[in-house]
Symmetry: C2
Subunit: 355 residues, 2 copies
């Protein structure tokens, strides 16, 4: 089993250190290779996703990813900016299925900006399509408007598109995820306005025939954004496109108030995957040993479970994380009066000890 | 002054009755004409936006709109469904600037799913562009994919586009709104992924030169969705495109927990406008005299203020609404123990009395 380690920028390297420490403490041998990505790769090799990094990622059985982005790269032209690395990895590796759990640990219920009764026990799974939609659709660019009321004026444009096989495969993934959970799937679209998402709705409805044990609902994206705020516990699994998924999965993560706890997985058709925290690179707190490493550590657990088939090891890590929370250990982002403030390193050590 | 009254479907007619009652109680003469729209227009004349309705709307100085949509029209082909009326009115009348306030009345702080300290005193204004973007961009449809990894497969597609003049005019409107409020504007885009919104960001930055007294921030849409949940009071005015605005304005409205209170305005270049509640037609409770008429009544106040220049009358209505809330009168959607539950009609009567 070969694991590619891509720490990236900002707090990426320091939280990755903790995850690697936990991996090494599992008592198994993993072959790992660490390569730069994002701003770090640009600084070292002139490109956020160098060929050599892509090669290591392609040849690995799974990828553990930190985070990318730093203020100092904000002025680069877009094709060289750190986030292009993550878009490039998704596309080149065919990582079309993004799993973003939004789970609220009972110990952290106070961290949410929502009332405890609205969010306590929250456990929803957002399945976001990750290689299609307006993220990658051609044509796109800036041109003179070819028609319309402002014909001839400069305009920016992009193309939203989804083919039938792309919708089918993400629908299958989402229905299967729902079968393993509460057997309810909400497909989020904007079928009342967009052709792409009327098509999406038709195909998802068709795939549903193969999963009659799952209850399927269709919901418009604006309504979904409202229901996430109003009554998030009414959702079980949510499936949606790349653009809507970007927005809704971040909103759902923030409902928990503890985005520093949330891992994510991005899988290809063979369950090879890239695993990364749902939070960003937080360059403002980088190098201070105060970042929360638990999302990175839980991303490692997801990797063991989904790509490496090591359920028992994944369980061990998740139990250890719950145990450090029960012990009252908190990094600053989730600290509350009455708990013990710890550093990034101390949190990593505590998880190792609890294993 | 000619006012077109378009009650629409579901609870539309009954809340409109209350708004008209309030208008008549102002002690001024308004010339009004009431015409069907949405499902009601389809039922009567075979189209959700008949020529005759469009004509009345075009000739009026302002339009007071209820809500459209009912279960019984869900199976119609898309071009005949009620919501096409609202899209058609926006496009034909050039109503490009949508103002959606999200205000939390102190008396209703308990209705929010967020903690009181996060939302009490909330007062943000979302300015949504309403006639461009992927809502109307051509080409769109279903076709055989012309290229890409799934070339030849069926695909749904849409075009996102914004021309420079479209971005400039909505930016001017938003900067001017910010000047009249807290002098802070957040422009929401996805410049890290979309050409349309990199272009948007460049133009908004350029327009900013004319409004140096306003502090401008740019924020990615996924981050904006998070910040709305985490700390909504940090926003003052938000400006964004049609699609992102659809999602964010509904999320922002729901933060208040009292969407039955929120009006909206959609204006053209000359401040002619369409005024409607932010909530929908709620067909499940239609005809029961339990819907909250206050968003419709406050939409009337917005109409008097923005399109008819009758600031004093607008103030009177808004003060009357605050006074009925202080009296403890509540329709069922905002009812809490210790307040007095009233019907739609009783609420309308109470506002008239408080005028
Ligand atoms: C960095 C950016 C391109 C990316 C996205 O929009 O997908 C990020 O927001 C995410 O959700 O992983
Ligand atoms: C009904 C629908 C077409 C409309 C929109 O998406 O604009 C609605 O959601 C709104 O926000 O007014």
């Amino acid at each position: 089993m070969k694991i590619a380690i891509l720490p990236g920028d900002g707090i990426g390297p320091e939280i990755m250190n903790q995850a690697v420490k936990v991996m090494n403490a599992l008592g198994e041998k993993f072959e790992t290779e660490t390569v730069p990505v994002g701003g770090a790769a640009y600084a070292a090799q002139g490109h956020p996703l160098p060929e050599s990094t892509l090669k290591v990622a392609k040849e690995a059985d799974a990828i553990l990813f930190g985070a990318v982005g730093d203020f100092k790269y904000d002025t680069l032209e877009r094709s060289l900016r750190p986030e292009q690395a993550i878009l490039g990895l998704r596309k080149h590796l065919g990582l079309f299925a993004n799993f973003r759990p939004a789970i609220l640990y009972p110990e952290l219920a106070g961290a949410s900006s929502l009332k405890p009764e609205i969010v306590s026990g929250l456990d929803i799974m957002i399945v976001r399509e990750l290689t299609g939609d307006i993220y990658f659709g051609q044509p796109r660019g800036v041109r003179a408007a070819p028609d319309g009321p402002f014909k001839g004026e400069r305009e920016g444009f992009d193309t939203m598109r989804y083919t039938e096989p792309e919708i089918r495969r993400i629908a299958h993934v989402a229905f299967q995820a729902a079968q393993k959970r509460g057997k309810r799937l909400t497909s989020v679209d904007k079928a009342n306005v967009l052709e792409t998402f009327q098509f999406w709705r038709d195909i998802v409805t068709d795939v549903h025939k193969e999963y009659q044990d799952v209850k399927l609902d269709h919901m418009y994206v604006d309504n979904a954004a409202m229901q996430l705020v109003r009554a998030p516990k009414e959702f079980d699994v949510v499936v949606t496109g790349n653009m809507f998924g970007d927005i809704l999965s971040d909103a759902a993560a923030m409902l928990t108030g503890s985005i520093g706890m949330l891992p994510s997985a991005s899988l290809d058709a063979n369950n090879k995957g890239l695993y990364e925290p749902s939070h960003g690179s937080a360059p403002d707190i980088a190098g201070k040993d105060i970042a929360n490493p638990l999302a990175q550590i839980l991303s490692l657990a997801m990797m063991l479970r989904y790509s490496l088939g090591k359920t028992e090891q994944a369980d061990r890590i998740e139990t250890a994380v719950k145990s450090v929370l029960k012990q009252g250990l908190r990094t600053v982002d989730i600290f509350e009066a009455g708990t013990t403030k710890v550093s990034t390193t101390q949190m990593g050590d505590a998880v190792v000890k609890a294993l």
